[in-house]
């Protein structure tokens, strides 16, 4: 604690795929080394639960690879997905008592997991990290509020169009080493139709019908259940408003 000089061994964080995009981005090597002592990597297979809604021993995680969902349930058991976690996103509820939502891997994933207590303590001692976390939380709040607009005011067609566009964007990192990457309009849906319905506040049938319609109208292609190509982005954007 009081040592002024400190042997800084490179932590495995240094080679982390999201080193420069996650909340750890502003930490120096020493801090990173310290952080890496309280975190551990974990592999998740599709469908595996990272933590459950209501858990007391709360986990926090950086998504390194893959896509996760966070969700809650109505008392009648209907699920509502609250958001998706993509690489470099931070998942979980710091400074809380119980997890207000559950987290599950949608695809095979890698995450960097922390016990909440460890992380909370670390964050309070490193205001740069806390600041990053604040910025992320504010951004996430913005995104969640935009989603409210979708849930409250859009019809099924607009919802599905918006969702496809957002997925395409978040699934493809905008830059790679500061070089603009030409992005393909083909991508893999990381969710089942049911899960899409649970995100959009629709039923599985409505989602399916809407996708079929978009395909029939030439706006998208469905190569397989999970493979989507956006053929007419302009029109989709018009529909999504």
């Amino acid at each position: 604690m009081t040592a002024t000089t400190q042997e800084v061994r490179p932590s495995y964080c240094d080679s982390c795929a999201i080193r420069n995009r996650a909340i750890c981005a502003d930490l120096d090597s020493a801090e990173l080394a310290q952080l890496s002592t309280i975190g551990r990597r974990r592999k998740l297979t599709a469908g595996e639960q990272l933590f459950w809604e209501g858990d007391d021993t709360v986990l926090l995680a950086n998504v390194i690879e893959g896509v996760l969902k966070i969700s809650t349930h109505t008392s009648e058991g209907k699920e509502q997905i609250l958001g998706l976690g993509f690489p470099s996103d931070f998942l979980g509820r710091p400074f809380g008592q119980t997890a207000p939502f559950g987290a599950e891997a949608l695809t095979d994933s890698f995450v960097c997991v922390f016990e909440q207590g460890d992380f909370d303590r670390f964050a309070r001692e490193h205001s740069r990290l806390e600041h990053k976390l604040l910025e992320r939380t504010l951004a996430e709040l913005d995104r969640t509020r935009r989603w409210m607009l979708l849930l409250g005011r859009m019809n099924a067609e607009q919802k599905v169009a918006s969702f496809l566009l957002e997925l395409r964007d978040r699934l493809t990192p905008r830059t790679c080493n500061h070089i603009e990457v030409e992005v393909s309009e083909i991508f893999e849906l990381p969710l089942t139709r049911q899960q899409m319905a649970d995100i959009l506040g629709l039923t599985i049938e409505t989602v399916s019908r809407q996708l079929s319609r978009f395909k029939r109208d030439g706006l998208i292609d469905l190569l397989s259940r999970r493979q989507v190509t956006i053929r007419d982005r302009r029109t989709l954007e018009l529909i999504a408003s």
Copy 2:
């Protein structure tokens, strides 16, 4: 900046109604005095806009008295209210470029306003404040996500019931000087039917019909357009799930 001792004059913050509940709660007198130099009080009359969606010169505010709404619009002009601000709530988007939503007073209000730049600078230098802000933002994110469940998965009856209950709770501070206060089940709606509709993702007619139904069934009383009494909280809670 480098002075170690400093004349601390009591700022008007010391007597602020929300001194112990707002994000300023953890600041000491010296910090509070400093903060008060960059903030100013402002009175708003019902219907007055504090700032607009898309504004570049962004304002931030602590709500001292009254109720504000934050909202955004679809491209077709339909409004979606994103949330309400009650006394001690913090409004606005720190560390951002443009306001992602507008804020308007629903009732005559008092707020404590900051220029975003001033506030951002202050926050970065006072990690206790930034920590408070983080906790609030996380709590607000939780609340917003619960609202997603309402928008995505509830029917009109459940939405209106939930809203009445939440309004009653937030309109009445739970404690006063650490003493549990017996709360009355009568309260004033700070919104028009149209605004309620814009919060719940419904139309004005549906909201009105639902309220009439609740009244007919003896769950609530409507003394005037704005005066509501909750007569059967249990059943309302049951409906709201």
